[in-house]
C-alpha cells in the first residue's frame, strides 16, 4: 500500500464483469489480462465492488475462479456496505486465502437488487445504518491483519467531511483515497497538511468524458468540455508528489503504456 516514505503507487481501477454479461468468458479473459498486466507492472489492481450499483461479480471470486496470482500488496479490494453478513465474510475469507490484505471500505452505491448490511450484522450499536465507519471497525476487529482504507470526498461540505474522516480514522482506517480531482484542490491540500503522516491516494480521472464527473463535483460540466487525462495526471503528480494516484476508467489500450513509461521515469 502507498507509503509516504516510498515511491507513490499507481492504483489501476479494474471493474469486474457485470452479472448480466452476454459474453462472460470474453469479459473474464479481459479482466484476467488487465489484472496480470497490472501485476507485472508492479502497480496496484484496485477492484471495484458493484460500482454505481450495477451488479457485477466480485473481484476476489474473479481472481480465485480464474486462478490468477494476486501478488502481496498489489491488490486492493473495494468493499461496500451492500452485502449480506455471509457474503461479507465470504469476501474477506477469500481475500485472506488469496493473500490480499488491502480493503477499501466504502458506503457504496446500492440498488434494489443488493442487500444492505444491518447494524447488528457488523456489531454496531447506536446507529441507524451501516457506513464505512462501522464496516472498517468490523473488518479490523475480525480480520486484524488487514489494512483498511477509506474514501475522502473533497466536494462535500468540508467540516462535515473532515468530521467523517476523523471517525473513519478512529475506526482504524490507515489510508485514504480521494474522489477524482483535476488539479490543485483546497480540501485535498488541507487533508495533507492536517494528516501529514497519512498515506493519501488522489484519484485521477482518465476518461476524456469529463462531464461524467458532474454528479461527483455537484455542478454540470458541459459535454463538450475538453479534457486531457494524461496531462492532468502529470499535473497531479507534480502537485502531489507524495501521494499515490488512483486511475479510474483507464484505457488499457490507449493509455497504459504511457502510464508505465511515466512510472519508469522514461517520460515525465
Amino acid at each position: 500500500m502507498v507509503k509516504n516514505d516510498c515511491r507513490p503507487d499507481y492504483h489501476i481501477e479494474i471493474i469486474p464483469p457485470k452479472q448480466d454479461s452476454q459474453k462472460l468468458e470474453e469479459d473474464l479473459s479481459l479482466f484476467a489480462s488487465k489484472f496480470e498486466r497490472v501485476m507485472k507492472s508492479g502497480f496496484i489492481a484496485s477492484i471495484t465492488d458493484n460500482a454505481m450499483g450495477l451488479l457485477a461479480f466480485q473481484g476476489h471470486e474473479c481472481i480465485e475462479e480464474l486462478g490468477l496470482h494476486a501478488r502481496p500488496d498489489q491488490v486492493l479490494i473495494h468493499l461496500n456496505t451492500f452485502h449480506t453478513k455471509q457474503a461479507l465474510h465470504e469476501i474477506l475469507d477469500s481475500c485472506e486465502r488469496l493473500g490480499i490484505r488491502s480493503i477499501l471500505a466504502i458506503s457504496g452505491d446500492g440498488s434494489p437488487r443488493l442487500p444492505k448490511l444491518r447494524p447488528k450484522d457488523v456489531e454496531a450499536e447506536n446507529t441507524a445504518s451501516v457506513t464505512s465507519v462501522e464496516l472498517t471497525q468490523y473488518i479490523l476487529k475480525h480480520y486484524p491483519s488487514f489494512t483498511v482504507g477509506v474514501a475522502f470526498n473533497p466536494y462535500e461540505p468540508e467540516e462535515h467531511e473532515f468530521e467523517k474522516l476523523e471517525r473513519k480514522l478512529d475506526a482504524g482506517a490507515s489510508f485514504v483515497i480521494t474522489q477524482p480531482i483535476t488539479g490543485k484542490n483546497g480540501a485535498v491540500d488541507r487533508l495533507l497538511s492536517r494528516y501529514p503522516c497519512l498515506p493519501v491516494v488522489v484519484e485521477a480521472w482518465m476518461s476524456k468524458k469529463l462531464y461524467l464527473l458532474s454528479d461527483v463535483v455537484g455542478y454540470p460540466i458541459p459535454e463538450d468540455a475538453v479534457f486531457d487525462p494524461i496531462e492532468t495526471l502529470r499535473n497531479l503528480r507534480a502537485l502531489y508528489p507524495d501521494c499515490g494516484q488512483y486511475l479510474s476508467l483507464l484505457g488499457f489500450k490507449t493509455q497504459y503504456e504511457t502510464i508505465e513509461s511515466m512510472a519508469r521515469g522514461d517520460i515525465l
Partner: protein, 262 residues
C-alpha cells in the same frame, strides 16, 4: 420436494416503451430482465430445496431470448430449466399462458409445489399464478410473505392481506405467489454463473407438452389490450441520505443549499 418456479422475462422498467400503434410493449431492442418478483420465487424454491432436499426447476415461456432469465435462475442455483418456446405460444394472454405453464408442470410430473412471483411488472395482472393453480386443481395462496413449515404433505404460509396477514395451511401439491418480504434473493456467484451459461436448457414446443393448439396463442386468448399508455413522467428526483442523523442532517442542508432551495 420437487418445486417448479415460473419466471417471466420482462422489459427493464427503466427501458420500457409502448408501441403507439399496437399499444403493446416494445420488447425488441429493450433490455430484458427477470421479473423482479420472480427473483424472490426462485430464492424461496432454493431455500426450500436446501432445507428439505429435492429439486428446484425454473420454467418460463417466451422467445429464445427468455433463456437469459432462465440462466439467471440457474446461476442462482436452480437445478434445471425449461423454456416453452414456439410461434404458437405468441400473443398468449394470462389465460392461455396459465394453460401452457400448467401443461409444462404436468409434463415435469410429481411436482409438490409451484412458486410464482406475485405478478409480472409488465402486465401487472397477478393472474397467471392463480390461473395455473386453477388449471392443475391445486390449493393456492397469493401474496405469501413467509413459508413457515412444510411436512406431512402440508405447508403453512403467511399470506399478506390489507390489515396484516393470514396463516394458511395448504395441502400439497400447492401453488403460492410470493411478495418481496419473503426473502432476500441471493446474488449469483461467478462459479454458478459460468456453469449456468454452459448448462443445457430444455426447450419445449406446444407438441412437447401436449398443448391443445386451440388453447394457446393470440387466438385462444380472450383478453384484448385496448389501450396502454406509459404513466406521465415525474420531474421529481429522490435523494436518499444515509448515515448518522447528525451527518444526514448536515448533508441534507448541503444538498438543499446546493440546489438553492434554502
Amino acid at each position: 420436494m420437487k418445486t417448479v418456479v415460473c419466471i417471466k422475462q420482462v422489459p427493464s422498467t427503466t427501458d420500457a416503451k409502448i408501441d403507439p400503434e399496437t399499444k403493446r410493449i416494445i420488447r425488441e431492442g429493450t433490455k430484458a430482465v427477470m421479473n423482479p418478483f420472480d427473483l424472490y420465487a426462485v430464492e424461496e424454491a432454493l431455500r426450500i430445496r436446501e432445507r428439505l432436499g429435492g429439486e428446484a426447476i425454473a420454467v418460463s415461456m417466451g422467445p429464445e431470448s427468455a433463456k437469459n432469465s432462465l440462466i439467471e435462475a440457474l446461476s442462482m442455483g436452480a437445478d434445471r430449466a425449461v423454456l416453452l418456446c414456439g410461434r404458437q405460444f405468441a400473443g398468449s394472454d394470462t389465460w392461455a399462458t396459465s394453460y401452457a405453464l400448467s401443461k409444462a408442470i404436468e409434463k415435469i410430473g410429481d411436482v409438490d409445489l409451484v412458486i410464482c412471483g406475485k405478478q409480472a411488472v409488465d402486465g401487472d395482472t397477478a393472474q397467471v399464478g392463480p390461473g395455473i393453480a386453477a388449471k392443475l386443481g391445486m390449493m393456492q395462496a397469493a401474496n405469501v410473505s413467509s413459508v413457515d413449515e412444510i411436512n406431512d404433505g402440508e405447508m403453512t404460509v403467511k399470506r399478506m392481506n390489507e390489515t396484516g396477514f393470514d396463516v394458511l395451511k395448504l395441502k400439497l401439491p400447492a401453488l403460492i405467489t410470493v411478495i418481496k418480504d419473503i426473502n432476500e434473493p441471493r446474488i449469483p456467484t461467478l462459479k454458478n454463473a459460468r456453469k449456468a451459461r454452459s448448462a443445457a436448457i430444455s426447450v419445449w414446443s406446444p407438441d412437447d407438452i401436449g398443448a391443445d393448439p386451440d388453447k394457446i396463442g393470440l387466438n385462444a386468448s380472450p383478453t384484448r389490450v385496448v389501450k396502454t399508455e406509459p404513466p406521465a413522467s415525474r420531474n421529481a428526483a429522490t435523494l436518499k441520505i444515509e448515515g448518522e442523523p447528525s451527518d444526514a442532517a448536515k448533508k441534507l442542508v448541503y444538498e438543499l443549499t446546493a440546489r438553492k432551495l434554502i
